[in-house]
């Protein structure tokens, strides 16, 4: 009796410990261009992602709620950019200590004097890039890896360079870990440690370039590696008070190349804590 009781207790314990794994024993559904998570309600989204991507329902709920805020303030208007937001597990790219704040609107510290930009800024910058499937995109400043992860749901040709060696290695480890888990779309991200100033000449030219580090001028090698008609976005200013410079490389009929500059927020001051507040599934009022 005693022995049976012990076996029962052990079995119960093992069931408890391994139940999520057992529930997720079916392989994770890999990302496909023709596949989209349910986007009609929070419940359907969470269920779909749980079943297909085996992600934590708590974070999925937070992602859904932030998604509604991002859409409400028009940081993402394009359907593909919206969908990509929902695909990307932001919680995997923040430091463990900040995981519970993954979907806060604020930027977070990721060590080495680097931040992961807030979800609204990332969505807005991604929107401004106008990435089409098949576009070649170069990112300068891998940082947390979230931006490239986001982009990997919009194109399968990505290159990213990080200047800080331990950070580059850490983020590569995050990608590799997630690829092993089944996030096959992150295999499209080519990463290296190096000086982003010189771009990635071997992979050039690029349709889009996103620069996420401060510099006193736009590196000429990057403008050279951008295709005519290509778009580059660069945040300007300190974290929390940033403007995002949008640069378009233009070619005139006579072949002359020029660059046009604008701000993706059209000169407006954008707080990293947005004014809108989410109540249930509805955007209301101010914080």
């Amino acid at each position: 009796m005693k022995k049976n009781g012990f076996v029962f207790a052990v079995t119960l314990l093992l069931t408890q410990v391994f139940s999520p794994a057992m529930a997720n024993a079916s392989p994770m559904t890999p990302f496909r261009w023709d596949l989209a998570p349910a986007m009609d309600s929070q419940e359907n989204f969470v269920n779909w992602m749980q079943q297909n991507r085996h992600e934590d329902p708590g974070f999925l709920v937070q992602r859904w709620r932030r998604y509604l805020a991002v859409v409400a303030v028009k940081d993402a208007t394009d359907e593909r950019v919206k969908e990509a937001f929902l695909w990307t597990p932001r919680e995997e790219f923040v430091r463990p200590i900040n995981r519970s704040h993954s979907y806060d609107s604020a930027f977070l510290d990721i060590g080495y004097g680097v931040t992961i930009s807030g979800p609204h800024l990332v969505a807005h910058m991604t929107s401004a890039l106008e990435v089409k499937q098949g576009d070649k995109v170069l990112e300068i400043g891998t940082g947390s890896g979230y931006q490239s992860a986001y982009l990997s749901h919009l194109t399968d040709k990505l290159w990213t360079i990080e200047i800080i060696k331990p950070l580059a290695e850490r983020t590569r480890g995050v990608y590799d870990g997630l690829i092993a888990k089944g996030y096959s779309e992150f295999s499209a991200i080519n990463s290296k440690q190096g000086d982003g100033y010189y771009g990635w000449p071997e992979a050039a030219p690029f349709d889009k370039i996103i620069v996420t580090c401060g510099i006193d001028h736009i590196p000429p090698p990057l403008l050279q590696q951008l295709k005519p008609g290509g778009i580059m976005v660069i945040p300007v200013g300190p974290p929390g008070a940033q403007h995002v410079l949008k640069v378009i490389k233009q070619q005139a009929a006579d072949g002359a190349l020029t660059v046009s500059r604008s701000d993706i927020y059209n000169g407006r001051v954008v707080p990293f804590v947005p004014f809108k507040k989410l109540e249930g599934d509805v955007i209301k009022g101010a914080h």
């Binding site: 060590g111 060696k165 001028h217 000429p220 200013g237 604008s262 059209n266 407006r268 001051v269």
Partner: protein, 874 residues
């Protein structure tokens, strides 16, 4: 142990008080330096200001327990003295393990606690120091003038000692200076008390403290000074091939120069360089960091091919029209604009006000090799003080005067910008530059243009136009040409006598080739229809209603700040800062009714665009004072104004703490503690006014004297030392007039007020003249100017305190001292707020007013003591 209490105190006692005061002020300055190097200076001001509340706190506690303190004054003094050193070391070491990061203050609740921990930790040693001084003051209350003399002179000497210490110690070991002052002061104290046991204890504790600072961090692998990962230098240290080429510690900053292939500088480079320049110079840069901020770019001497790159920098503009110029570069910095000048001019004169930078370029062999010994270039003359002072006083004339990105450090400063005097950019300085131009000469000013809505550049425009009106009373229509690169740089050219058609054509062609946007040109056309939507959009962006409910309550349109352009706005500007620049230039120069057109734009624009003057030399405080109440619910929009907003936080906290400190005795025992002491309200006002008045004079004069002395550290040292020593002498001399205080003090107050009002009115031209003298004479003149008010300002505190002591108003004596200290903190925080809005002269005049109010309440000190109840019964 011999304790001859009744005997006159030995000189060692005064020496001890002086040295401990010196240690306290040195520690205060050390904490400021630690914050400047480890994170950001203005957070140091916040923490130190609040830590100085330790004096108020101590006085209140001693006031409540004055009888006990009086009985045990010696034990209290001994204990507090011995504890000061280890507490300073311990608090600093622990604080360095819990650094806080300003940029996460809003998003990370833990940061607030870290900030609070820093505040509490740094408060502790000041409480200890204040307890020592309080105990000695209480004991010597009837001869307060002398001990106060020792206190003030000691503090003055402490400031000077730390200045010398800055040459000897790196910031992380600078705390050794207050520790040494404390040790010597402690020895003097125990000698004065004939206490061998105390002496032995002190020495033992000192050895342990030194060991804790110099040995413990290595043993435990903890930092003595934690440098934020977000400081400029922290990034350089992470570059894989970084190497520190040069390091130097001096009062002019902790200077480091790093080499790395990852460093690239081309401030404001035209985007078109990418398509026309064969290659950017590689491995051509070093990064210079001052107090960890930067980098300021230093460039290798370039080959003829590589130097084509200069053509694409905005600082190349004046040389297009003046190819063989006698050029003057106002600030050397890292030397890039000097190199541009050397490649394009006949002769170049360059000025640099920071001797540490010149020393590095002159003495360091590697730097000399790297830059081709730029300072030794035969074409180059070097002026080793501020360019603005030189140009204001030289008979020489120049074809080109260049002020380019003199503040390239802090380009993207996550900690926000502190409130710093920028005398090189004031109307008076610009006027001096314009007057130093040879006929047809060009003044070129390049500034960062990273703000949207634009702030600093608009102040630059209004300042240059105001200066031009003073320099040459002629129509300015043809005198200005300005270009900008969106979210990059702006360059303003002023030509004496105006540009001719050929020159304008050349400038047009170059700007087109560089893809820079013209924002002012003599022949430009301007679409006035842009004014309304641009100003309205900016107002909506900052002050727009943020909720539907709020929208009903305000006339501002509701705006979604993150929304992409709507159909109605599509026609609006894509580069609003550029359009705003055009609006400003048009209104300033070509408006139909020039002044009124500009006044209208300035009134409707979201930020303050008033010119910089020597009275208000700040690129800061852009929020108009009238708008301040409207932004309290949207502070996150002003993250680049941390330095400014923190002043309000400091002021708010200081006022709260001071109120609590004043209320504490009132609530807990006004009746019991102060029952016998009439004139309480008058006494509070008197000492509050002295606290406010004194510190406001000191802080505003530190800012003013940067004008002739060129350097904030030198100015602060001269002012702190000068003010305290002369006031100390004043307090000593005041002792002779104690019995005639009632007759003499009103005259003293009137004299102080008159002097302060007069200084407010005439100091600027006087300081401008002093700036033209040799440096030693400038320092001598500075002391001479400080002496009269400072000497007189030593009288009121000492006289009133001594009389409180003589009248036996012990608790009031302590309380008054605390009120004075607390209001000093309030005054220090209020100075930059008043100065940025109304000017430094206004601060001096307010101080004058404070001394007049003090005069009115002075006689409250003498209100006769009521007899104790028991005595009445008898």
């Amino acid at each position: 142990m011999l304790t001859p209490r009744a005997a006159a105190p030995s000189r060692f006692l005064y020496l001890a008080v002086g040295l401990i005061s010196a240690a306290i002020i040195a520690l205060q300055l050390v904490v400021m330096r630690i914050f400047a190097v480890g994170s950001w200076a203005h957070f140091g001001s916040l923490v130190v200001s609040l830590a100085m509340m330790g004096f108020g706190l101590t006085s209140v506690v001693m006031c409540a327990a004055h009888a006990w303190c009086d009985r045990h004054w010696r034990g209290l003094a001994n204990t507090a003295l011995v504890c000061f050193g280890p507490l300073a070391i311990g608090a600093n070491l622990i604080a360095q393990q819990v650094p806080f990061n300003a940029i996460f203050l809003i998003s990370d609740p833990a940061q607030k606690w870290r900030l609070a921990a820093n505040f509490v930790l740094y408060l502790v040693p000041f409480v200890s120091g204040a307890s020592f001084l309080g105990a000695v003051f209480l004991h010597r209350k009837t001869a307060f003038g002398k001990v106060y003399f020792a206190d003030l002179v000691g503090a003055g000497v402490g400031g000077m000692t730390l200045l010398i210490g800055l040459y000897v110690f790196r910031p992380d070991d600078l705390i050794a200076v207050p520790l040494a002052l404390w040790l010597v002061g402690g020895v003097a104290w125990f000698v004065s008390q004939h206490s061998r046991r105390g002496l032995a204890t002190l020495l033992g504790v000192a050895v342990l403290s030194l060991a804790a600072h110099f040995v413990l961090p290595n043993l435990l692998s903890i930092p003595k000074l934690a440098v934020s990962d977000y400081k400029g230098v922290a990034y350089a240290r992470k570059f894989p091939d970084n190497r520190r080429v040069y390091e130097n510690s001096s009062p002019f900053g902790y200077l480091e120069i790093y080499s790395s292939s990852y460093l690239h500088f081309a401030p404001g480079l035209s985007d078109n360089a990418a398509f026309n320049l064969p290659a950017m110079p590689a491995n051509a840069y070093l990064g210079m960091y001052l107090d960890g901020d930067g980098p300021i770019g230093i460039m290798r001497e370039l080959s003829a091919t590589d130097s084509q790159y200069f053509h694409y920098l905005p600082m190349a503009y004046p040389y297009l029209l003046k190819p063989n110029a006698a050029a003057f570069v106002v600030q050397f910095g890292g030397g890039i604009s000097t190199m541009v000048a050397l490649h394009n001019s006949r002769t170049v004169t360059v000025a640099e006000g920071n001797p540490a930078i010149l020393a590095a370029f002159r003495r360091n062999a590697e730097l000399r090799d790297f830059t081709g010994d730029i300072l030794g270039n035969p074409k180059l003359d070097v002026i080793d003080y501020d360019g603005r002072l030189y140009l204001a006083n030289t008979p020489k004339r120049y074809d080109v005067i260049d002020l380019s990105l003199a503040d390239s450090a802090g380009l993207s400063n996550p900690g926000g910008f502190a409130i710093v005097e920028k005398y090189a950019y004031t109307r008076e300085a610009m006027t001096a530059y314009m007057r130093a131009l040879a006929p047809g000469g060009i003044l070129a000013v390049t500034l960062w243009n990273k703000e949207e809505p634009p702030k600093s550049v608009l102040k630059l425009y209004t300042t240059m136009v105001a200066a031009a009106r003073v320099a040459a009373p002629v129509p300015l229509d043809n005198c200005f040409y300005a270009v900008s690169s969106y979210l990059s740089t702006v360059t303003v050219l002023y030509k004496q006598g105006g540009f001719n058609a050929d020159e304008i054509a050349k400038l047009h062609a170059h700007s087109k080739a560089m893809s820079f946007d013209e924002i002012a040109a003599p022949d430009s056309t301007f679409d006035a229809a842009q004014i309304e939507p641009t100003l309205a959009n900016y107002r909506a962006s900052i002050f727009g209603a943020q909720t539907p409910a709020a929208a009903n309550a305000t006339t501002e349109p509701e705006v979604d700040p993150t929304a992409p352009l709507g159909a109605a706005q599509q026609a609006g500007p894509l580069v609003p800062a550029t359009t705003m620049g055009q609006i400003v230039w048009n209104a300033l120069l070509h408006g139909d009714h020039k002044t009124t057109a500009w006044d209208d734009v300035a009134r409707r624009y979201v930020f303050d665009t008033r010119p910089l003057t020597n009275d208000r030399p700040y690129f800061a405080a852009y929020i108009k004072p009238v708008d301040l109440p409207r932004i309290t619910d949207r502070l996150e929009l002003f993250q680049d104004e941390w330095g400014y907003l923190l002043l309000f936080a400091t002021l708010g906290i200081a006022v709260t703490v001071a109120t609590v400190l004043i209320a504490f005795p009132v609530v807990l025992g006004w009746r019991s503690i102060f029952n016998r002491y009439p004139g309480r309200l008058g006494t509070i006002i008197y000492f509050a006014c002295l606290g406010l008045g004194y510190i406001m004079v000191e802080v505003s004069l530190i800012a003013k004297f940067v004008l002739p002395l060129g350097n904030p550290t030198v100015s602060a040292t001269i002012l702190i030392t000068g003010m305290l020593v002369f006031s100390g002498l004043g307090s000593l001399v005041s002792g002779r007039y104690l019995d005639r205080a009632r007759a003499i003090m009103p005259k003293i107050f009137i004299a102080i007020s008159a002097l302060l009002f007069a200084y407010g009115a005439v100091l600027d031209p006087l300081l401008g003249w002093i700036g033209s003298l040799a440096y030693a004479s400038r320092i001598a003149c500075s002391f001479a100017l400080i002496a009269p008010p400072a000497f007189l300002m030593g009288f009121p505190m000492a006289t009133a305190m001594t009389w409180l002591g003589r009248l036996g108003k012990d608790p009031m004596f302590l309380w008054a001292w605390g009120i004075n200290g607390s209001f000093s903190v309030i005054g220090a925080a209020a100075v930059p707020i008043i100065a940025t809005a109304y000017g430094l002269a206004a601060v001096l005049q307010l101080s004058g007013l404070a001394y007049l109010i003090a005069a009115l309440t002075f006689f409250a000190i003498f209100a006769p003591l009521k007899k104790p109840l028991a005595a009445v019964r008898e």
